[in-house]
Amino acid sequence: MGGNPPDTWQTHHGAEVQTQYIGPGFTESLHDLYVEEGWYELFTPELLQTVSHDGVPHMVLINLHRSNILWYNKPLLIEHAVRVGETLSYDELFEIADHLQNSGVAALCMGDAGIWANGIMFENTLVGVMGPERYLGLWEGTTAFTDADIRQAITTYSRLLDYLNADHAALSWDQAVDKLLDGGCAFYSMGDWAYGELTQAGMIDHEDFGWVPHPGTENTNILVTDGFTLAKGAPNPEAARNMLRVMGQRAVQQEFNLLKGSICARSDCDRSAFSPYLQWAMDSYNTTVSIPTVVHGSAAPADFRQALNDALTDFVVRRDEEAFAATLAREAKASGFGQ
């Protein structure tokens, strides 16, 4: 809403920056900066497209997060004689979950005091059940919001909700990470910003915790990014440009992402400098389809995101699958999707 925006600000790629900032004309083109810095070659065309308007980039991306990871507490699973391979199907997950539940362990972690954490699990399940092409079709108008796959995804998601830790509504997303590493619950479907929390707590990759892609999303990377734009009419455009230049530098991105627990937006960072998980994430980013997230505003504008959050808040308690599906279809139509 700002009439007097700051010179530069942080946002996410895709619909958020395109509809909220670039479209209404709040941001400047960064074409000359991209040419000067050689960024057109260093960011992949897919990424460039998500920060551009009419082919002109308006944003510098600094990092890439993967949103569809199922983290697990490794010692806890070993204690309950559960082995997890490279991937996990829904059938396998539900089988393990029943086994854990019978031993009195909450199979799934959740901290949905902010409902978006549950949104991540829903989105991951939606993509896992539909597959990336049909999911993309939702936003491109080739898949209807009344699609049977959506109902199937809602049913699967609803089953997952049966296994949550009882105090999920009292916890924030990061308190649920604490619960995972304390052994209070076993699996957590969450983006890899959770990895930052895990490493900060001194947990070691493959020893204290492990990860698999959220079931069904093995070949998909649900992408969440952070980046910066240049405000139109910025009081200090040169200072802001210089800051953006710094953000785009390889050394800076490498340093920043080592701390944040995400991978570089530039494609030329040094793989060997990163930890096992981040190396895995870099490889998977290069070999999978990247798709936009609703929860973090890349796939759909703010009005639909709010509608999804509200529908989830209602569904998590009331569990009315019909009503949830109907609300999604209605709100998508109102936001201009699926026509």
């Binding site: 809403m1 509809t19 909220q20 479209g23 209404p24 005091a113 902010g114 409902i115 105090d167 509504a169 009292a170 504008p301 703010a302 009005d303 995101r305 709010q306 509608a307 509200d310 808040t313 209602d314 998590v316 308690v317 009331r318 009315d320 009503a323 109102a334």
Partner: protein, 332 residues
């Protein structure tokens, strides 16, 4: 030299000029803005790009809103919260005022202590109440410490550990009764009852404002003449009876004023809920003010946000306008 009458006439006009800036500002900032909000609520404006074309049909945003489970929950919560909060705050405030309605050592200390929360902001206290009602570590620990839970377990019952603001349950639902009364009642998407999660919020609000209620009553009690109490005593009424049948009825005007002010607080309550519980599980603690805030400032659904704000305004007017009219009529 002008006559006194002419001077008085001129002075009256000067006096009017003093009012002009305030009246102008009020005309713009209160009436103009309300009108503008109302207009926005009738438009298609639901993204950051301004779209002031009128919706067709024109009331569609209001119809959509009333059909939203979230907004239905908000209306329910406002009613439940208002009743709980006003009843608790008035009962506690009156009780404290009666206790303090006598001379004894420490009286002014207690009076100050009970009123103190009113000086603090809802944001400050909301943060603290969120801790106190944390189900794992907050006030529930007292049930263990005081041995209540050991007692319950000894009796073969479950230990007492309410989820407070995280409890999605709605008790005393009247949906079936509504459905029996009116066929449309079955179509409600929410439970009409008392959301358990609202109770701690009402307690926190009571904590904050019961001291204010007490101060109002103490003011009223001070204005009751000693002769009234003496007369009651001579008639042989005990203290409790004197309060119940003589003094409390005499305080009715204060009760009405206080209830109106509390109602006004509860209809627009925002900061406390925002800091303490947010929308709550299944919207158990959501209120219209938060709905408006989210629709305007996170979802950019401006028509929906303004529509909800107009409903809030209408609810306030239902109470305030008759009260203002009554106040001014009785003065003339």
């Amino acid at each position: 030299m002008p006559t006194a009458a002419v001077r008085l006439w001129a002075s009256r006009h000067k006096a009017l000029i003093i009012l002009v800036p305030s009246l102008l500002l009020t005309a713009i900032f209160v009436y103009g803005f309300i009108g503008t909000s109302f207009f926005f609520s009738l438009t298609n404006w639901r993204t950051l790009a301004v779209d002031l074309s009128l919706r067709d049909p024109i009331w569609q945003t209001y119809a959509d809103m009333m059909a939203m489970p979230r907004f239905q929950a908000d209306l329910r919560n406002t009613v439940v919260f208002t009743v709980l909060f006003i009843a608790l705050a008035i009962a506690l405030g009156l009780f404290l005022a009666i206790l303090l309605d006598r001379q004894f050592k420490g009286r002014s200390f207690f009076r100050s202590a009970f009123l103190f929360p009113y000086a603090l902001s809802f944001i400050v206290t909301g943060v603290v109440w969120r801790w106190i009602f944390n189900p794992e570590t907050g006030i529930n620990l007292f049930f263990d410490m005081l041995g209540i839970n050991r007692g319950l377990e000894a009796l073969g019952m479950d230990p007492l550990s309410p989820g407070w603001t995280t409890d999605p349950e709605v008790i005393l639902s009247i949906n079936q009764a509504l459905a029996a009364l009116w066929p449309g009642g079955a179509s409600f998407q929410i439970e009409w009852g008392i959301p358990v999660a609202l109770i701690p919020v009402a307690i926190a609000a009571t904590w904050q404002l019961s001291g204010f209620v007490m101060a109002m009553y103490l003011g009223g009690l001070a204005s009751i003449e000693a002769s009234v109490r003496d007369a009651a005593r001579i008639d042989g009424a005990g203290e409790w009876r004197t309060y119940r049948s003589v003094i409390i009825p005499m305080l009715t005007p204060i009760t009405i004023s206080t209830a109106i002010i509390l109602l006004h607080v509860s209809l627009k309550i925002f900061d406390l809920v925002f800091a303490m519980s947010g929308v709550g599980p299944g919207f158990a603690t959501d209120v219209p003010a938060i709905f408006v805030f989210e629709m305007m400032f996170t979802a950019a659904r401006y028509n929906l946000g303004t529509a909800a704000s107009i409903v809030m305004l209408a609810a306030s007017c239902l109470v305030i306008v008759p009260y203002l009219i009554h106040t001014f009529k009785s003065r003339e």
